[in-house]
Amino acid sequence: MKKGLARIFLLCTMTIVTTGCWDYTEIELRDLVMGAGVDAEDPKVIVITEMAKSIGVGQEAEFEPVVLTTDARSLTSGAHNLANPAGMEIFWAHAQVFLVSEEVARSSILQVLEPIVRARDLRSTMYLLVTKDCTVEEVFKSKPPLVDGVSRHLASVIRLSDVTTDFIPQQVWRFIGDLSSPGISGTLPGVELVHEGGALLPVVRGAAVFKLDRLIGWLSKEETQILALLKGESEGGFFVMDTEVKGNTFPITYEFRGSQFQTKPSVDGENLRMKVSLSLQLGVAGVKGADVDFSDLAVVNDIEGQVSRSFTRRIRDFLGLIQEDYNSDIVGFGQLLWRQEPAIWRKVESDWDAVFRDLPVDVDVDCRISFTGFHAQPIKVRN
């Protein structure tokens, strides 16, 4: 009996001690941030958020994106300033994308990332993007055609990365990992505004190249494709290449069906070399105005050779770009060296920039056409 009394007493104390619900907030009183971004206006930053505003009641409820903008000394204070115009508690944990304007990225992206990592309620799985030739505010104010809200649109575009190689998605944590580990530089996908059908649409393509924490240049869509291949992140996508078959040149559309990629550092005395070997499985998605018989092995071998040569050239160009023009190791040769040959890395670590600039790279591409759709031969049109 006394035991029972003691327990009841315990329960009572529990309720008395814990009366008050400090973190209790109704969900409809929270303003759900779907995406956010930062524009620069020296010395201040402009924080832009896209919030979900619900309209309609009960079963007919829908969502309308609302864009709020404020300027402040720092990202964090800006985020807090927003509560006033929003009139509700700002709730950040559902933010899916974070946009950084080119200007901010060029001065230093770390000033933006630092508070994100530190903040309790911002998730480090957010996708990071850099706007190209436009401000973040303009991107958020554009109207995507199918989805309500730019953030949702961007998030769903990014999830397409399995089937496209126009860009390489980056989440906050991965980007920070690239920034902080030795021998690799980061890239972020870019967002551009494109006129289409009389409306401005946000399009994700290309990549922003970083050196340390500063943006130093851009990669085009095609160059991004090569980067994706070299980072082993290419899983799909198409490209068109003029191919010569039996003396005639046709544009043929190829499809990436898989790739194996290997980079091997090799040391020959004092000389460090990198050997990049790439084997590609391609499919043929379309042949325009040509009569190509893919059941003819000679033709196929010829085409494979052409594609290999073309890729070798593109990779060389790409490596030239990042080694000499940007001098930023976005492929991660240094990291590879560090992981596989720590002894050599220890020697070159201190002046990796210089070593990287002159690093000789052997490129070896091997293409196989493994799939030609359901047709081996083109459709014959007869009279």
């Binding site: 209790y24 109704e26 969900i27 409809e28 759900l32 779907m34 619900s54 944990a93």
Partner: protein
């Protein structure tokens, strides 16, 4: 055992012995004016034995408690047609009557009024003979009995269709027919100062531990109350942790259930006047077992068990978890879901906690309203409650639609584990309160508190969680899963400590 004999002896001593007189007239008058005063259902049948030595006799019995034909055929007729030798008197006369006249097996001789009265109210016929200070009581119980039918609370798809009735001896016979073994012991006690209810303690000697049986005896012995009208009375008197809503004594309406339990080393208590037998000790896992589990394929049975555990979790936790997630941790809800919950709650005037509490309460009211109503009306209530109220509440935006789903899940899952239904309601309220205070951590504190309580409980010396905490395969063979019978080699460790093997060696592997 001798406990109750002693107790009874003391009781009658306390009242004083009122010995029978030799005069029949005095006896009858005494009875009519004292013990059976103001009782018009007592029948006094006066008759005389055959000439020449005719003696005045009386047969006393309670109307409708006895079989009339039996009394007239086997007592009155033989006595009227026999002549009693004159020389026999007193005790020897009675002996003559019991041995040579009355043709019935349940015969006892008494010498005092109290014994007579006890017998008569329990359905015996008492015979008194002129000039003799002894009486004979003859078992002639016969009253209306319900026939053995399928129990309503525990109906099965596969399994015996027998259920206990309100008659103790019928119930005992039902159990005995399951276990045709002299080791099955049945001890009968009288409990209840006014009702003198017969209570049978049933166990299998050699399997049930001696200490357990003694403990049950002693606890029942200790009951001194007016009435035992249902086994629930006994349950409350003898259970462990009486203030905890988790049951520590099981009840069942099924003889096969009782047989199964006592064969694992438990003790069953059957109470006259109710079809619900008690089994003890009762462990938490038993609430999730159904006797049908043992008749189905073991994989199917295990699946159903798992479902029961999940349902119990759902019915206790859904409102609390919902509240914790929605009000404290929306970051844990997927984006689209949280957006739609926010939209659904937009015009609801009440805070989520009030919504949860009120809806939970309304559901319990509907359930309670439906339980004891006649079936057709009960259905009407559930239709009105579920469809009309729910739908109207949502469209009037008094309640958000997700809340209706939460209440629905809670309610439906609650029916799956019906044995813990009342417990589940209390746990649910506790978890809702703690979740409202500290979110998911509050929820967890609630769960941990319940776990501490469960871990500290015992039922008749057996830890309440015992088979869940064993962490061995043989120990947990009959918990969340039910292993096939040919793998259940040992009886539960805590119940049958001495005699553990229940499966003989040759049947330990599956028969080919």
């Amino acid at each position: 055992m001798f406990f109750w004999k002693k107790a009874k002896g003391e009781r009658s001593k306390a009242k004083g012995l009122d010995r029978l007189s030799t005069s029949l007239e005095i006896n009858v008058k005494w009875l009519k004016s004292n013990l059976f005063a103001d009782d018009d259902t007592i029948v006094y049948r006066h008759f005389r034995t055959k000439e020449p030595q005719a003696r005045q006799c009386v047969l006393i019995h309670a109307d409708n408690m006895t079989k009339h034909e039996f009394l007239s055929d086997y007592i009155v007729r033989p006595m009227m047609s026999s002549s009693l030798p004159k020389e026999l008197q007193g005790r020897r006369l009675i002996q003559h009557i019991t041995e040579q006249v009355i043709q019935s097996d349940g015969v006892a001789v008494f010498t005092d009024y109290n014994k007579l009265a006890e017998g008569v109210v329990a359905g015996s016929g008492a015979v008194l003979v002129e000039g003799c200070n002894h009486g004979i009581s003859v078992d002639a119980q016969g009253w209306e009995r319900r026939s053995v039918t399928e129990p309503q609370t525990e109906s099965v798809v596969r399994g015996p269709r027998q259920g206990f009735t309100e008659d103790l001896l019928v119930n005992v016979s039902l159990v005995r027919r399951k276990i045709l073994n002299p080791a099955l012991k049945v001890k009968i006690l009288d409990v209840g100062l006014q009702t003198r209810t017969k209570v049978a303690i049933v166990y299998v000697e050699g399997i049930a531990s001696k200490e357990l049986v003694d403990e049950v005896f002693q606890r029942i012995e200790r009951i001194e109350t007016d009435a035992i009208l249902e086994s629930g009375y006994i349950e409350e008197f003898i259970r462990d942790s009486p203030n905890c809503p988790f049951p520590t004594i099981g009840h069942t309406e099924r003889p096969d259930g009782v047989a199964g339990k006592i064969l694992e080393g438990r003790v069953a208590v059957l109470v006259d006047g109710t079809p619900f037998a008690l089994t003890m000790p009762y462990l938490l896992v038993e609430a999730f077992q159904a006797n049908e589990d043992y008749y189905h394929h073991w994989i199917a049975a295990s699946f159903h068990r798992t479902l029961r555990y999940i349902s119990f979790f759902l019915t206790t936790s859904t409102p609390g978890l919902y509240l914790a997630l929605v009000t404290h941790h929306p970051q844990l809800i997927p984006v689209n879901l949280s957006v739609s919950i926010a939209a659904a709650r937009k015009n609801v005037p009440f805070p989520a906690i009030v919504e949860v509490m009120v809806m939970g309460l309304v559901f319990e009211i509907l359930r309670e309203g439906g339980v004891r109503l006649p079936k057709p009306v009960g259905q009407a209530i559930s239709i009105v409650g579920a469809i009309v109220l729910g739908d109207a509440a949502v469209s009037a935006s008094l309640v958000s639609a997700p809340m209706i789903i939460v209440v629905g899940i809670t309610g439906v899952a609650g029916f799956v584990v019906s044995k813990l239904n009342d417990t589940a309601v209390l746990i649910r309220i506790l978890l809702v309160v703690t979740s409202a205070i500290l979110g998911i951590y509050g929820f967890l504190f609630g769960i941990m508190g319940i776990m501490i309580q469960l871990a500290s409980m015992e039922s008749f010396g057996v830890p309440y969680l015992s088979s869940l905490t064993s962490l061995t395969i043989q120990g947990s063979k009959d918990t969340i899963v039910r292993l096939p019978w040919w793998r259940m080699v040992l009886r539960p460790r805590h119940l049958a400590a001495k005699n553990r093997e229940r499966l003989q060696r040759k049947s330990r592997s599956k028969t080919k």
